[in-house]
């Protein structure tokens, strides 16, 4: 027994010793963190990584960065904060990446920025929306997507202007879902609009009892916000539709999560998806930029579908980091942070990206303030988001007002 065990331990040590710890000199490593396995939002993670890969290919085709080949080191966080910490540790200490980008779950992003802050490595967040990610005020953290306060305060204002009187919000009890509830409450209650809210575990699948309850409320609920992601988001729309509650001629429904924007939405929601509202943080070709055209073309060639907001964010993330590396001519953390803060002014797929330095309100620090936000409404079954009716902002609107379903 003794010898057997010894053998095992020695074997283990040898295995460990073979760990690839060598560092290639002519490679520029950039870490990408994304949820690529359950329970994370895998669809989102994959879109993000696809976008990032296209960016890296483009950079390498143009000769790389500072004469080195760009290599993306992709870390799967599974949507779990602890894994996020572990993956960041690995990327920074083992793979020795110069900077990190990505992430689509706020809870994981919040764990990752701690590690980035500890090691002084810049991290550009692609798709995590909780205010606190940038509100922490860490200089290493940048964000080129919206945050809850930015997007839902706009959505709330639109709801008020469109004349809705009683808004119900059902949100998942994650940081993001609770944030959605909070922002709607804060922005609408002040304007005298009644807000009814409830939150639930992300894995809840049957909302029928609650929807029946809302349907029977006085004054009648005329706007329902679906603050779920994944299966829950689609199931709530489907169940609300089956009960004749929303979308209907009396009640509108806004799918706040990303799942209303993926191709899988129509496969599962079917006719329930027509007249549903959604709020993408970017639509391909709106506004039209050179990068947007180029990226849409490469993405379509590679994946045979229209890029979504997240893929565009993934692409922009790598490109913005590349811009910072070019501008600072080094890969040292402090220099990169300074370059991201001062020198990046780059026309990406969704407009010209530039990071804000003001700290009031707290969430605005290192945000891209001009990130485009839309409110769209599907008018036909199997419609892609960029073909849907745009209700807001006015600059890009294709219809005058909310389209009331006939039934």
């Amino acid at each position: 027994m003794v010898r057997k065990m010894l053998l095992f331990v020695l074997g283990l040590v040898v295995i460990l010793g073979l760990a690839p710890a060598t560092q290639a000199q002519n490679v520029m490593k950039i870490g990408i963190v994304a949820p690529l396995s359950a329970p994370g939002g895998v669809e989102t993670g994959q879109a993000l990584v696809e976008g990032a890969k296209i960016a890296a290919e483009e950079l390498n085709a143009g000769g790389g960065l500072l004469g080195k080949k760009v290599e993306l080191v992709i870390g799967d966080t599974s949507g779990q904060p602890e894994k996020g910490t572990a993956v960041m540790e690995r990327l920074v200490t083992h793979d020795k990446v110069v900077a990190v980008g990505g992430e689509a779950h706020s809870s994981v992003a919040l764990a990752e920025i701690e590690v980035a802050h500890r090691y002084g490595i810049p991290i550009v967040i692609s798709e995590a929306w909780a205010d606190s990610v940038t509100a922490k005020g860490y200089p290493e953290v940048f964000r080129l997507t919206v945050c809850n306060s930015l997007i839902y305060s706009k959505a709330a204002r639109w709801i008020k202007d469109a004349g809705f009187k009683h808004v119900a919000v059902i949100g998942e009890n994650s940081d993001w879902g609770l944030g959605v509830i909070q922002v709607f409450k804060d922005n609408l209650s002040a304007a005298g609009i009644k807000v009814t809210s409830m939150s639930a575990e992300r894995t809840v699948t049957d909302f029928t009892p609650q929807l029946m309850q809302l349907k029977n409320m006085q004054p009648p609920v005329d706007f329902l916000v679906d603050g779920f992601t994944g299966a829950g988001e689609i199931l709530m729309i489907k169940q609300a539709y089956q009960l004749g509650f929303a979308p209907s001629k009396n009640t509108a429904i806004l799918g706040a999560g990303m799942d209303t924007l993926y191709p899988g939405f129509w496969e599962t929601a079917g006719e329930a998806g027509v007249y549903v509202l959604s709020n993408p943080a970017g639509l391909p070709g709106i506004p039209k930029t050179q990068t947007s055209d180029k990226f849409t073309k490469s993405f379509k060639a590679k994946l045979n579908r229209e890029p979504d907001a997240v893929a565009m964010e993934g692409y922009d993330t790598v490109m913005v980091l590349a811009e910072a590396i070019k501008a600072s001519k080094s890969t040292e953390g402090k220099g990169l942070v300074a370059a991201l803060e001062d020198k990046v002014n780059w026309e990406g797929t969704r407009g010209t990206i530039k990071f804000n330095k003001e700290k009031t309100p707290a969430w605005a620090y290192h945000m891209w303030m001009d990130v485009p936000v839309f409110i769209i409404q599907y008018t036909k079954i199997n419609q892609v988001p960029s073909q849907a009716a745009i209700l807001w902002p006015e600059k890009y609107a294709t219809v005058k007002a909310y389209i009331r379903p006939p039934k």
Binding site: E201, Q213, E267
Partner: protein, 297 residues
């Protein structure tokens, strides 16, 4: 009116719960083991129906009918490969073995579905679309279909168990394997049949739940926990208990989540009500509503 709609919904969901719990109960009755992979077998049924109906584009009713024998064979295969030999050679610590092996099977199936089907939510069409309206009462077509088919399957099962020779053999083995063997019932075969039927019931429940709640690799976990609660509540191995327990759980979930004064918590704890029920049963009536009191040495 609200009360009636809620009750109707609870009864529909309860019928589907009964279907999956009966499978668990039958397996426990005959094989004297809890199938900890029951939720994952339910998921397998969900995917099977989805593949038959959507990928192979078979007519819906044929997909559903075809999934029955496939699931049965799958169950028999599992019993043969994992459970039979240890039972036959009276393996030391068989009880612990079956818990470990069925739990590990669940983990395996769930994580196999993940790379094979991807983490996406799939949906096959239900037999009937649209919804049924009786005055103010609205019941969605997929739910109604599910409940009706489940009702039918439960009926056939009960007929089979109480009115056919094979069914009586199963119940005989459940009561006393030794005595059953003496009167010439092939106990090993009965165990395989019981496991096959149990898995079929779970799988059909999955195929019916699929159109309602979407199919994904993780769908099994919450259903499995519900099935466990139901069989403990009704009494382990009791057919009547599983059916009654299923309706009780469905009603508690439906009304619990709207009657609690704090609406936020009421919905959040929806999946936990059954577990509270479980604790209460274990405290006050550990043998369950229809279970027999355990004899101890």
């Amino acid at each position: 009116m609200l009360f009636l709609s809620q009750l109707a919904n609870a009864l529909v969901i309860g019928t589907l719960y009964a279907l999956m719990a009966l499978g668990l109960s039958l397996i426990f009755g005959v094989l004297k083991l809890v199938n900890f992979s029951h939720g994952e077998c339910l998921m397998v049924g969900g995917y099977l129906y989805y593949v038959l109906a959507t990928t192979l584009k078979l007519p819906l009713s044929i997909s559903l009918a075809l999934s029955l024998p496939v699931l049965f064979l799958f169950g028999v295969f599992l019993e043969r490969s994992l459970l039979r030999a240890p039972y036959q050679r009276r393996m030391a610590r068989y009880d612990e073995y079956v818990i470990l092996v069925t739990f590990a099977l669940g983990i395996f199936l769930q994580n196999l579905a993940l790379p094979v089907f991807g983490p996406y939510n799939r949906q096959a069409a239900p037999l009937f679309k649209g919804s049924v309206r009786i005055g103010e009462l609205v019941i969605a077509g997929d739910r109604l279909t599910g409940a009706l088919v489940a009702f039918l399957v439960i009926g056939i099962l009960l007929f089979f168990l109480y009115r056919t020779y094979l069914g009586k053999g199963l119940r005989a083995v459940a009561q006393s394997p030794g005595a059953a063997a003496i009167v010439g019932i092939k106990v090993l075969r009965m165990r395989a049949v019981a496991f096959g039927i149990g898995i079929t019931l779970a799988g059909v429940a999955g195929a019916l739940f699929g159109p309602i709640f979407l199919v994904n690799p993780e769908m099994g976990t919450s259903f499995a926990v519900k099935a466990f609660v139901i069989v403990v509540l009704g009494g382990m191995g009791s057919i009547k208990g599983s059916i009654v327990g299923a309706y009780i759980l469905a009603i508690v979930e439906s009304f619990g989540s709207i009657l609690l004064p704090d609406p936020s918590r009421a919905l959040a704890y929806k999946d936990a009500y059954g577990l509270l029920l479980l604790v209460l049963v274990l405290l006050f009536r550990p043998q369950g509503l229809f279970g027999e009191k355990e004899r101890r040495a």
